[in-house]
């Protein structure tokens, strides 16, 4: 038997990986995956329209869509564009950021539990924000500090926590399970710190902190949307481009390095992007539980990919948060912070992942 037999033509195509090639761009044409991703995008948009339409002044979904694309009366435009769109967009962007963030952390640490909310990154952002609310006090806490102070504190808190966890987990390289264990430890410590601050603080500050801690979209306006939108757009793009190396990284450190991946640099870029996205989301609306954990696992089951698909995970995250907001605002008798709804849905999903035994959870 010979490897090279002149009589037998060697194949030149791989039937299961058809190419999509335009100029210098070449990709694998995966029709089903593109269709499902487009479907998710449509679902997110529909939920956004439903969310905007709900309220004291109800507007039908087709009318909302029409207004978003430039139609509608002056009153309708004011209600949709100025009053309701910022909140709905914030929900959408937050979900997108959390989904992408979770997909990256789960892929790199090769552990489905390695999501920013279980690793303590969200808790770090929360602790910093609560510390600011509590320490700055109600009276002195106005103006620019009120708009920018909490998001910036949360952003710094999230990134600082991630850096400390990464440094503690470092042993000439980073192993996923060490990061997860250290992260869970940090998460517990930070939650304790938050509780301590809430108990010892002034009651008015505590009330405000509590609303923020439940992940609330109330009071979102355009001034809050822009920083989130720009942040998610920039970091999200970096994440999507860098995620090209994920295919190799998923084969393990040794294989990735053999395939020419600059392991530390590649991992650090992606992890930093993931932490930044989770922190931006938390900074904008407070901690929203379980979205970063669930969205990637749902996305990989929808698309049947071996690891969480980055963009689709983001879209599933967007669908989850906007959908949860619709539930929070309409189906339930009282308007709940969205974080309570996502946690109520996410808790059972986590249990489902853990007890499921016909197929191990994937990363």
């Amino acid at each position: 038997m010979s490897l090279i037999d002149d009589k037998v033509e060697l194949p030149t195509t791989v039937p299961s990986r058809p190419g999509f090639r335009v100029g210098p761009v070449s990709l694998v044409r995966r029709t089903t995956m593109v269709a499902i991703t487009a479907g998710l995008l449509l679902a997110a948009f529909l939920l956004l329209c439903i969310n905007i339409g709900r309220g004291d002044f109800a507007i039908s979904v087709p009318t909302v869509a029409e207004i978003l694309f430039g139609g509608g009366t002056k009153v309708e435009r004011f209600i949709v564009m100025d009053l309701r769109l910022p909140r709905a967009l914030t929900a959408l962007l937050t979900g997108l950021a959390l989904g992408i963030s979770g997909a990256i952390t789960q892929s790199i640490l090769r552990n489905p539990l390695a999501s920013p909310d279980l690793l303590g990154i969200t808790a770090g952002a929360s602790a910093a924000a609560v510390a600011l609310i509590v320490l700055a006090g109600g009276g002195s806490f106005v103006g620019l500090l009120a708009v920018l102070g909490i998001p910036i504190a949360a952003l710094i808190g999230g990134i600082a926590t991630a850096v400390i966890i990464y440094a503690l987990a470092w042993r000439g390289g980073v192993q996923g399970y060490r990061v997860v264990l250290i992260g869970i430890g940090f998460n517990a410590m930070l939650i304790a710190a938050i509780q301590w601050m809430l108990i010892s603080a002034d009651i008015n500050d505590v009330a405000r902190a509590q609303v923020w801690l439940n992940g609330s979209l109330n009071g979102s306006d355009w001034a809050q949307v822009w920083p989130v939108a720009i942040g998610v757009a920039v970091v999200g793009t970096i994440a999507l481009i860098s995620s090209f190396t994920l295919g190799a990284l998923r084969l393990g450190d040794d294989n990735a390095r053999s395939l020419g991946v600059r392991l530390q640099a590649g991992q650090a870029t992606l992890l930093l992007a993931a932490v930044a996205l989770a922190s931006i989301a938390t900074a904008a609306v407070g901690p929203i539980g379980f979205v970063a954990l669930c969205a990637p696992q749902l996305a990989l089951r929808l698309l049947r990919t071996p690891g969480p698909p980055i963009l689709a995970s983001g879209l599933v995250g967007a669908v989850l948060v906007v959908g949860s907001d619709v539930i929070a605002r309409t189906i339930l008798p009282v308007e709940l912070p969205v974080g309570i709804v996502t946690s109520a849905l996410g808790g059972p999903f986590l249990l489902y992942l853990l007890v499921r035994n016909n197929r191990k959870v994937s990363v």
Partner: protein, 290 residues
């Protein structure tokens, strides 16, 4: 790449005063080595002698404490890792594929060093992957998840990935780990053909000495972090070496099916003349006829 390279040219991969270790422990100490081009070289040695450490350093997975690995005359640590990955491929020991990853997708990962985020599946990539799948006999398995294959098929899929990488030099760390003898032979046949028919330089680490002898052009024998012998299997393998390096009492006989030596370990049990062991054939006849 498909040209037959039978002439042995200057070594493209070498180690110079290479010292490698973990923490304070030195595993490989001041080792000089040249890997001959276009042949199969196998590193053998007792457990813990540093053979895997050496291979991982040659594949730049481990950073040397001092000394260097040279690829085409340049220190490998100064080269861009992506450039190295187009010349030198390394398959780690017992690699694990993510659950659900298909064989075609795994083999396509081998093209990573030739790709970028906008060029993820060029016609070249597709051609090389199709070829690698066919050459390793896994084309029919292309759509099957790697984790559902048998051990031998799985290892062929990984070797297919390394082949798709298109490197002239290939390092294999114990490619037969967890494989039964039949599958080990199947995998090593494939490795030998990659060298013989595709002109690849192969360096591997093997535990099984007889398989190493059969499938290697050259053997490197390591003991306690140093090279103690190297050359063709016939030059290197002797009863003295086995006793000195492996602490193994053995006979080295002529292999009935090849021109290479064959090791027959002796041990203390079930050997003619040992306590409770079998009686030699001649004696057995005598006893039976009494």
């Amino acid at each position: 790449m498909s040209e037959l390279t039978t002439e042995h040219t200057a070594p493209r991969l070498a180690a110079e005063a290479l010292t490698v270790g973990y923490g304070d422990r030195i595993i490989v100490d001041g080792l000089d080595l040249e890997i001959p081009t276009g042949v199969v070289t196998t590193v053998i040695g007792p457990n813990g002698c540093g053979k895997s450490t050496l291979l991982r350093s040659l594949g730049r997975l481990l950073k040397p404490k001092s000394g260097q690995v040279l690829l085409d005359g340049k220190a490998i640590s100064t080269l861009k890792t992506k450039d190295v990955a187009r010349t030198l491929g390394m398959l780690p020991q017992a690699p694990v594929a993510p659950e659900g990853l298909t064989v075609a997708d795994l083999v396509a990962r081998g093209r990573h060093p030739h790709q970028s985020w906008i060029r993820q599946w060029s016609a070249d990539d597709e051609g090389e992957v199709a070829r690698a799948l066919a050459l390793t006999g896994v084309s029919e398995l292309a759509d099957r998840p790697v984790d559902q294959l048998s051990g031998g098929q799985r290892q062929r899929a990984w070797i297919s990935m390394a082949l798709a990488q298109g490197t002239d030099i290939l390092l294999l760390d114990e490619p037969t780990t967890y494989l039964d003898l039949a599958h080990s032979v199947e995998v090593l046949d494939l490795v030998d053909r990659m060298h013989e028919e595709l002109g690849r330089t192969v360096v591997m680490v093997l535990h099984d000495l007889n398989l190493a002898i059969r499938y290697s052009d050259r053997l490197i024998v390591m003991s306690e972090g140093a090279v103690v012998a190297s050359g063709t299997p016939s030059e290197v393998i002797s009863e003295e070496l086995l006793l000195k390096v492996f602490g193994l009492e053995a006979r080295v006989i002529e292999d009935p099916v090849s021109d290479r030596p064959l090791i027959v370990p002796i041990g203390t049990r079930h050997v003619y003349g040992s306590i409770g062991g079998p009686v030699a054939a001649a004696d057995a006849v005598g006893v039976g006829s009494a």
